[in-house]
Every structure is written in structure tokens, then in C-alpha cells.
């Protein structure tokens, strides 16, 4: 059997995949606990318009996706906290709005239909060295910021009202958190693609929560599940020519059912 890692593109895809597998649960755990899973899905759709802008202007689509998603995430949070519309309505506006915008941009420049598929469902083979640097730098930024704000994030997720009473600046913290979510989603595009990102953020965490451990062990279990799923996805894509994004998400769901069996004995 051929060693897949003699190919540079597989090595690059694997490095990017592992970084994302480690960072995604750190954000995902707070998304799940705060019932924010829909925000992940919305921002993923927003990132597609970012990708489309990049392809149209011939700029690295990962960079335009990061910029578009972060800016939109802050607007969504402002709209949500202003209570002018329901939180859910703010998401609906952005989810379909950004998809519509992306479709219009795509139809404007008829040229990039082929590469579009790889952004929708991920394409590890196309990860460039610049992408790895972007993923590495952004991933480190997200990881470091969450480590520094960890206790505050736990407090506002657990009991937002008491956190507010104790003087924590919940509004600023919510904006920082949603911007970090936007960054994580953008850098996950090359690995799982726009349509499957929210699964990578949430399913490993939901699975890890079945074991009913404290928060940090839960995050570590979720990271282990994500890393295994990403590796399996990459290997099967190499040997069997299957979509890595699809295999990654299916593997996380497989782990979820394993966790159900393991934890239902008691």
C-alpha cells in the first residue's frame, strides 16, 4: 500500500485538519452549551459569500472568508443583543441572505463552478502553504484567546445573569466569542467545506458530553474524536477516493452512536 504522506498535498491537508480538529471543540463546546449551534450553521453560510468574493476578486478565498464571516458575526451579535429582532430571526436573515449573495456572485463570474464544489464540501488536496499558515496562526489565536477568557466564558455559558451581576462584561465577551466562532468556521472550510462545518464543531462535543465528565475532560475527548475522524477522512479519501469532509462527519456520527452504547450500560 502506498504511504500517503509521501505526497506534500496530503501532508498539508493533514496538518490543517489536525489543527482544526484540536481548535473546533474548544469553540464547539460553548456553542453546544449555549444552544448556539444554529449560529455555527449561519456563519458557515456567510463564509461561502466570503469565498465567492475571494474567487471573484482573485484574492485567497480563505482570507476573504475570514474577513466576511468575522464582520457579519459582530453584526449578528449586535442585532441579537439589541433585541430589535429575535435572535433566531437575526440568524435567518444572515443564513439565507448570505447564501443569496453568494449565488449572485457565483453567477456573475461563470468560471469557478468546479472549485466551488471543493468549498462546499471541503478539499484537502487543495490546501496551500499559505492556507496552512493562515489556519495555524488563526487556530493559535482562537486557542489562546479561549484559554485566557476560559473562566469568564464558562460563567456566562453556565449562568449569564449571575455572571452579569458579578460584573463580567457579558456584551463584550459575547462579541469576542462570536468573532472567535467566525474565525474557527472560516479556517475549517478547506477541510470539511462550508456545508459540513457546524457538524465538526458540534457533533464531537455532543458525543463527548455523553460521558458526563467535567468541562476540560469533555473538550479533550471531543478533540480526540475530531482528530480520529479527520485522520480517517483523509486516509479514506486517499485510498478510496471518497469525500473527506463527508467521511469526517460520518465518523463523528459513528462515534456518537458508540458513545450511546458505551454509556447506556449503567
Amino acid at each position: 500500500m502506498t504511504n500517503p504522506f509521501i505526497y506534500d498535498f496530503i501532508t498539508r491537508g493533514t496538518i490543517a485538519g489536525i489543527i482544526i480538529a484540536i481548535v473546533a471543540p474548544v469553540i464547539g463546546v460553548f456553542l453546544v452549551l449555549r444552544r448556539y449551534s444554529m449560529i455555527a450553521d449561519t456563519l458557515a453560510h456567510v463564509s461561502l459569500s466570503g469565498v465567492a468574493i475571494g474567487l471573484l476578486l482573485k484574492i485567497n478565498p480563505l482570507l476573504t472568508a475570514i474577513a466576511t464571516t468575522v464582520v457579519s458575526s459582530v453584526i449578528i451579535e449586535k442585532l441579537r443583543s439589541s433585541k430589535r429582532v429575535y435572535g433566531e430571526s437575526a440568524l435567518a436573515l444572515f443564513l439565507s441572505g448570505s447564501l443569496a449573495f453568494a449565488v449572485v456572485l457565483i453567477s456573475l463570474s461563470r468560471g469557478f463552478n468546479a472549485s466551488l464544489f471543493s468549498f462546499l464540501f471541503g478539499s484537502i488536496a487543495t490546501v496551500t502553504n499559505i492556507d496552512i499558515m493562515t489556519v495555524g496562526f488563526t487556530g493559535a489565536l482562537v486557542f489562546l484567546t479561549v484559554s485566557l477568557l476560559y473562566k469568564e466564558l464558562v460563567y456566562i455559558s453556565f449562568d449569564e445573569e449571575s455572571a452579569k451581576v458579578s460584573g463580567i462584561k457579558t456584551n463584550s465577551l459575547n462579541i469576542i466569542f462570536i468573532a472567535l466562532t467566525a474565525l474557527t468556521i472560516s479556517i475549517s472550510i478547506p477541510v470539511v467545506g462550508v456545508l459540513l462545518i457546524s457538524a465538526l464543531l458540534t457533533i464531537p462535543v455532543i458525543t463527548a458530553m455523553q460521558f458526563r465528565r467535567a468541562l476540560i475532560p469533555t473538550i479533550i475527548i471531543a478533540q480526540a474524536i475530531s482528530v480520529c475522524s479527520v485522520m480517517l477522512g483523509i486516509l479514506t479519501s486517499f485510498y478510496l477516493n471518497l469525500s473527506p469532509g463527508g467521511i469526517i462527519v460520518l465518523t463523528t456520527i459513528f462515534f456518537f452512536f458508540i458513545a450511546q452504547i458505551l454509556t447506556s450500560k449503567a
Binding site: L33, L148, L149, K151, E152, V154, Y155, S157, F158, D159, E161, S162, A163, K164, V165, S166, G167, I168, M209, R212, R213, A214, L215, T218
Partner: protein, 253 residues
């Protein structure tokens, strides 16, 4: 701990509040002194929770003003001096993966500011708070695995870990069984009498509250009664109260 009995902890002056056209609080005036154990009662919709939210700075007063520890609420920043225990049933998700220790550590957030890590002194303070509510043995358990009464004791520990001058409790025993409630009130009494912490207990359960507190506020849009619990139950005020259509369900346990 010495208690300066005349020090004013909370001062509420000419306070009014409306949600749209619905006036919930009108011309409320009272002071809470250091060492007081104050009960706030009143019918549902009478404005108890709104009053608490105003004192805690969650809502802003529309007319009148509130000061805490001598400072107007707008300039008040020492929130570590104010503990808060919310209704158990609505305040958290029992599946949330945090340990009892983690929950009590949250109480240090305001004292330590952003980016804090826990020092050994902090860890000792957490142990001490847990010990004072007899929950130290449960330190490493997940909060969701405890009974309602035990969870509520952990929230008391969280509110005292930052060494507060006052603790405000909003219907803390809702959904907690009777035996745990008795234990809970014993702990509150000890915090008040031994540690000199000022307590404000909001409840709709007039029977329990009049047995526990030293001072009673009855709120039904206006401040209907302010005095000792004995004075309230003696009947002298009841005609006046009932004529204002204040109705209480008295539980006989």
C-alpha cells in the same frame, strides 16, 4: 466579624419602574442596614423580581435612585461585595459539565477580573466556602448529579466565596424539597448571625419567610409594609393589606 449596625448597605429612594404602560413599582423608599436579614414578599406580578433586578443593576431605574455601600448604582463597581443566588430551576442546565469546585470558582470572577488564574489562596477560599455549607465532600462531583437542595447550597458557597457584605436571594428554594429547605434556612441564619452578612430573601412563601427574617418588606407596586414580621402577621396591618387586594397562599406544612 464585627457588624456596624447602622451602616447602610442598600438605599432605595423614590424608585419607580414601568414596563411600557404597566407600572410595576411606584415611589419605593427603604434602607437596608448592615447585618439585617430582610424578607421581600408580595404577590406574583407585584414587582419583587423587578425590584431585585434594579438593585442588582440588571435593569436601570426610570425614576428615583439606588445606592449600594454609599455609592450610586451607576458608579458602583465592587460587585464582589454583592452575592446573588437565583432561582435554581431557571438558572442553569443540569447537564452542564462543571464540577462543584468550578461553580464556586465562578464566584471569584468579579474579584479577580479578566484573565485570572486560581491561586492557592483562592483554592482555600473555595474549600472554606464549601465547608461552611457542608458541601466540601462533593467538591469534585458534577453539579448536575446533586439534589436540588445540595445544588442550592453550592450556589450559596459561590455567593460567599468573594467575601460579600450582602447576599440577595431570589426565590432560592423554589423546587427544593421541604427537608432541604429547612437545612437551607439554617445555613442562611448562620451566615447572617455568625458572619454578619446582610441578607435579602425574596419569596412568595409568607409562612417560611416570617419565621426566618428580622425585617419584612411587602411590595405590591408600592411598598405596602416595612417592619418586623411580627407586626405584619399580628393582624394590625392585614386589613389595610387585604383592602389593597394583597393575597397570599399560606402553606401549612
Amino acid at each position: 466579624m464585627s457588624v456596624e449596625t447602622n451602616k447602610i448597605i442598600v438605599s432605595v429612594n423614590n424608585l419607580s419602574y414601568s414596563y411600557g404602560n404597566n407600572q410595576v413599582l411606584k415611589d419605593i423608599n427603604f434602607d437596608i442596614h448592615s447585618g439585617d436579614y430582610v424578607g421581600i414578599i408580595g404577590p406574583n406580578g407585584g414587582g419583587k423580581t423587578t425590584l431585585v433586578k434594579l438593585i442588582l443593576g440588571i435593569l436601570q431605574p426610570q425614576t428615583g435612585n439606588i445606592s449600594i455601600l454609599g455609592k450610586p448604582l451607576a458608579n458602583f463597581s465592587e460587585w464582589s461585595k454583592v452575592g446573588f443566588v437565583a432561582q435554581r430551576a431557571t438558572s442553569f442546565d443540569p447537564k452542564f459539565p462543571v464540577t462543584v469546585f468550578d461553580v464556586v470558582a465562578m464566584g471569584l470572577a468579579s474579584k479577580k477580573g479578566l484573565f485570572y488564574g486560581l491561586t492557592n489562596t483562592d483554592k482555600k477560599a473555595i474549600d472554606k466556602s464549601l465547608d461552611s455549607v457542608q458541601m466540601l465532600d462533593f467538591k469534585n462531583q458534577l453539579i448536575g448529579n446533586l439534589s436540588g437542595g445540595q445544588q442550592q447550597r453550592v450556589f450559596i458557597a459561590r455567593s460567599i466565596v468573594s467575601d460579600p457584605e450582602i447576599i440577595i436571594l431570589d426565590e432560592p428554594t423554589a423546587g427544593v424539597d421541604i427537608r432541604s429547605q429547612e437545612e437551607f434556612y439554617k445555613i442562611l441564619k448562620r451566615l447572617n448571625q455568625e458572619l454578619g452578612i446582610t441578607l435579602v430573601l425574596v419569596s412568595h412563601d409568607i409562612d417560611v419567610i416570617t419565621n426566618e427574617v428580622t425585617e419584612l418588606l411587602c411590595v405590591n407596586q408600592k411598598l405596602v409594609y416595612h417592619g418586623t414580621p411580627k407586626g405584619f402577621t399580628s393582624g394590625k396591618h392585614s386589613d389595610e393589606l387585604y383592602s389593597k387586594s394583597v393575597k397570599f397562599v399560606v402553606h401549612r406544612h
